[in-house]
């Protein structure tokens, strides 16, 4: 059975206006119906660009934001409907590591105080001595000196601070750790140290991770299953290697072709799908498939009217595209209407152009015959 299961989770933030009386004038559909399941001992990677709702989804699992609709079933209990006090007790088993290691540590607390606070709240350890002993062990495991106990966050480097964040999650012996952009604030050499540490800890302690990141290469490296999010919903989900070998959703393919690979050989020879325009505003998402405004493979039927559901293609590969099979077979070819990066005057205003900028109609520049790739 899955350890963590999300069924149709929605998080909508109201947009308010008015001076005296707050009127709700609309909603930002940050997460709009996400269903996924995380198996024990596995790493589930959530990837997407800024504004796709991946962070909100992570916070929703811990109920750090209010869930508008849907279920978050953790070990048989629906967290979404739990009273606050019971939820608080559940948080021992669901911990989070945040993106900004300095911003998530209280600058006035020393490391011992930061790490023992959670243990005290959850009644772990009989006295401070016992807790300190445990903290020492965890600190040694994440690669920090025991002398760190009496020091303050500003005395550490970025990588060390992230290790403190990980230790803070670990002292409570959680089942699931949600890592929100755990390495994006770190330099590459430090990034690799933290990624390796997370992987070692998982093997030793049998942890389950949900890793949220914008960097597809990082996510693919550490995840067993990867879910790709676009504008509040999952567009594709597959085992990590399968996703790389056979990306089925046009967005995943574009995302993958945009990730730079540190190898000139690969860089010079690969297919490039350049999406035009920006992400539409999640306050006013396009009708039908949310990706149709930028999709190179957009069709005249279905795409603009019907919102595709995640369909199982076999082998744990789920994709939310009406035309996934046709695109894979090469029966639909991308529209080659972009000789330049963005053709002049090629702006198509639907009702969806929010403040995030215009969303032009999908135009693609493929340097190789894109569909021949499969």
């Amino acid at each position: 059975m899955s350890l963590l299961q999300l069924n149709g989770v929605k998080v909508h933030f109201p947009v308010k206006k008015g001076i005296l009386f707050d009127r709700t004038v609309g909603h930002v559909y940050a997460v709009d119906g996400v269903s996924l399941s995380v198996e024990p001992g596995q790493t589930y990677g959530l990837v997407g660009e800024s504004g796709c709702g991946k962070t909100t989804l992570g916070r929703a699992v811990l109920r750090l934001v209010d869930i508008t609709d849907g279920e978050v079933v953790f070990d048989g209990t629906d967290l979404a409907k739990l009273p606050d006090e019971e939820m608080r007790r559940f948080r021992r088993r669901l911990q989070m590591v945040f993106q900004d290691p300095l911003g998530s540590l209280n600058p006035r607390q020393n490391i011992e105080s930061i790490l023992s606070e959670g243990m005290e709240a959850h009644g772990i350890g009989a006295d401070q001595e016992e807790r300190r002993e445990r903290i020492r062990k965890i600190l040694a495991r994440v690669g920090l000196p025991a002398g760190a106990l009496s020091r303050y966050p500003h005395e550490f480097s970025g990588g060390q601070r992230q290790r403190i964040g990980i230790a803070r999650a670990l002292v409570l012996e959680p089942d699931v750790i949600i890592c929100d952009e755990p390495v994006s604030a770190l330099d590459v050499s430090i990034q690799a140290q933290v990624i390796n540490l997370l992987e070692e800890l998982q093997q030793e302690m049998g942890l389950t991770y949900v890793v949220i990141a914008h960097d597809l290469a990082v996510v693919r490296h550490i995840s067993d299953v990867v879910g790709v999010m676009y504008l509040g919903s999952l567009v594709e989900e597959a085992p990590s290697d399968m996703l790389y070998a056979e990306p089925r959703h046009p967005y995943t393919r574009a995302l993958m072709s945009a990730v730079p690979v540190p190898d000139p050989e690969v860089e010079d020879n690969r297919e490039r799908i350049l999406l035009t325009g920006d992400l539409p505003s999640p306050a006013n998402p396009p009708a039908g498939c949310r990706f149709h405004t930028r999709c190179p493979w957009k069709q005249d039927t279905l795409c603009t009217t019907d919102r595709p559901e995640l369909r199982d293609l076999g082998g744990g590969h789920r994709v939310a595209c009406h035309w996934a099979e046709e695109i894979a077979d090469g029966r639909i070819s991308p529209t080659h209407n972009a000789a330049q990066v963005v053709p002049a005057g090629h702006e198509e205003h639907g009702g969806h152009a929010g403040h995030a900028g215009p969303a032009e109609a999908g135009a693609v520049k493929t340097e190789k015959a894109a569909t021949a790739a499969e």
Partner: protein, 382 residues
């Protein structure tokens, strides 16, 4: 002669009562017309300070610069502020990392673009506006005439970066310096911006100095790559050569640290240990030595020189370079004799191999990082 020739550039920040901070301690490189040169390194390696020094944007107080930076025969470092103002914007241009804070938030985009046209090309009124619109169009901003009236906050991140690029190329500069131009952007937008920069170089023959921490971006864009560490170039090579045969332990470690999209899953990363804080002054030896897995006492005998252990044109600043392409013969000839380091028989495996680290903290990672060369060396020593 190269368009820009930087020779032993040094930048030192001074503050009364504090120790001087040498941000850049002797950086040399050339940029030719139509060439893309990369400066790669992690935070604190001096890559941004180098670019600011070239553009004359460093504060005049508390900063000491040295060396030369010849741009078409003029030394940029000693140029008067007036002379610099004439060059900047017309001959030299820069694109910054954060497009929102580099644009004036209370001035419409159009005014900011026409300002440059008025200053350097003497264009005014309708002609300047038309030219500004065509520039925005050139960098792929849809509906440019409407955009000219908008303010920076009304544009998305990618659009703002395009607007900045439009301003940078307004006077067809001969050298464009891009300081982390895509770091603040999402990958799909990053791909658009990189494509645009590539077009500019191909079509206009602009020289581009690309400053970035992302080796992936470098792999796709740059012709020549300089890897910086603690204010010095530690490795410099043509793009393919650098990625095929990273020879400095730092460059090698950087490449091993990056999770690759196309690598099979489950392969552990080979990070560089320690952090940038574990650095010694270049005068005392190799600044990278405290983090290096190939570190010997030889590394502490003054600044290592830039040498060419592999190929002409592939420069490496290292006493014990990693020659990890399996060419054991090449490696032997490049290494000093195996009798200089006492007490390195830590794991009792083979003789006193030179590349055994004196301080061996993470043996697993070290073995991985040395790779085939380490094995070859041990066999050679045994």
């Amino acid at each position: 002669m190269a368009l820009l020739s930087v020779d032993e550039l040094t930048v030192t920040f001074t503050q009364r009562g504090r120790r001087d901070v040498k941000a850049v301690s002797g950086v040399s490189f050339d940029v030719d017309q139509g060439q893309v040169v990369g400066l790669v390194g992690e935070s604190g390696c001096g890559k941004s300070v180098t670019s600011l020094a070239l553009m004359g944007l460093l504060p005049s107080r508390g900063v000491r610069t040295g060396g030369r930076a010849d741009f078409d025969g003029t030394d940029l470092l000693t140029l008067s502020p007036k002379g610099m103002r004439d060059l900047r914007g017309s001959q030299l241009a820069m694109i910054f990392q954060d497009p929102l804070s580099s644009l004036n938030p209370v001035v419409p985009i159009g005014v900011q673009v026409t300002e440059i046209l008025a200053r350097h090309r003497g264009m005014k009124g309708e002609a300047a506006r038309r030219e500004a619109a065509s520039l925005l169009d050139r960098v792929g901003i849809p509906d440019p005439t409407r955009r000219l009236k908008e303010y920076p906050h009304q544009l998305s991140g990618g659009m703002r970066q395009r607007a900045l690029i439009a301003m940078a190329v307004a006077c067809a500069p001969r050298l464009l310096i891009a300081d982390e131009p895509t770091t603040a952007l999402d990958v799909t937008i990053q791909a658009q911006i990189l494509e645009l920069l590539r077009e500019l170089v191909d079509e206009e023959g602009t020289a581009l100095l690309m400053i970035t921490h992302d080796l992936g971006v470098v792999a796709g864009l740059c012709d020549q790559v300089n890897v910086l560490y603690a204010g010095k170039v530690v490795e410099s090579a043509e793009r393919r050569e650098l990625f095929d045969a990273p020879t400095h332990p730092y460059a090698n470690g950087l490449l091993g640290s990056i999770p690759r999209l196309d690598a099979p899953r489950g392969e552990p990363l080979r990070p560089v240990r320690g952090s940038i804080n574990d650095t010694i002054a270049w005068e005392d030896g190799c600044a990278f030595a405290p983090r290096c897995d190939h570190y010997t006492l030889e590394c502490l005998k003054g600044t290592p020189a830039l040498e060419e252990p592999r190929k002409p044109g592939h420069q490496v600043r290292c006493v014990n370079p990693v020659l990890s392409d399996g060419a054991a013969g090449l490696r032997e000839s490049a290494l000093p004799g195996p009798d200089e380091v006492p007490g390195t028989e830590a794991d009792g495996e083979g003789g006193p191999a030179v590349d055994e680290p004196v301080e061996k903290t993470e043996p697993a990672e070290k073995d991985a990082a040395v790779g085939t060369a380490g094995t070859a060396e041990k066999e050679a020593g045994a």
